[in-house]
Point group: C2
Chain length 73, copies 2
Amino acid sequence: MPHQYHFDVTMTCSGCSNAVNRVLTRLDGVSNVDISLEKQTVDVTTGDSLDYDTVYNTIAKTGKKVNSGKTIQ
Amino acid sequence: MPHQYHFDVTMTCSGCSNAVNRVLTRLDGVSNVDISLEKQTVDVTTGDSLDYDTVYNTIAKTGKKVNSGKTIQ
């Protein structure tokens, strides 16, 4: 079963959202990344083995503020 | 002996430079961070035990492009 995780992240320009996109697409087990700078949202689809905390920590290490996050599936 | 490291990093807004500043000031052993958005530079002063690679990797994990880096001291 794939997972879907949703995060609300403060991103102020396309450089910010590109940075988040870059670290997530580099992460093993990520199958899709959908980022909206307008909505300040990051949606990540992963394979079975990639857990919420790993995805959360990867985003946190960008230095962006993660305002909330949840597992959709 | 403290170390001084210099990096050229692509940062396109203050959200970008704040993110880099945030991850570096969180890093154990960092004594000073000086970031110029205008010059696209990141200067880091650390204690004896913090090596170049650790600082480099911390910046790289922000997802920003590190165009070059060097040890000043």
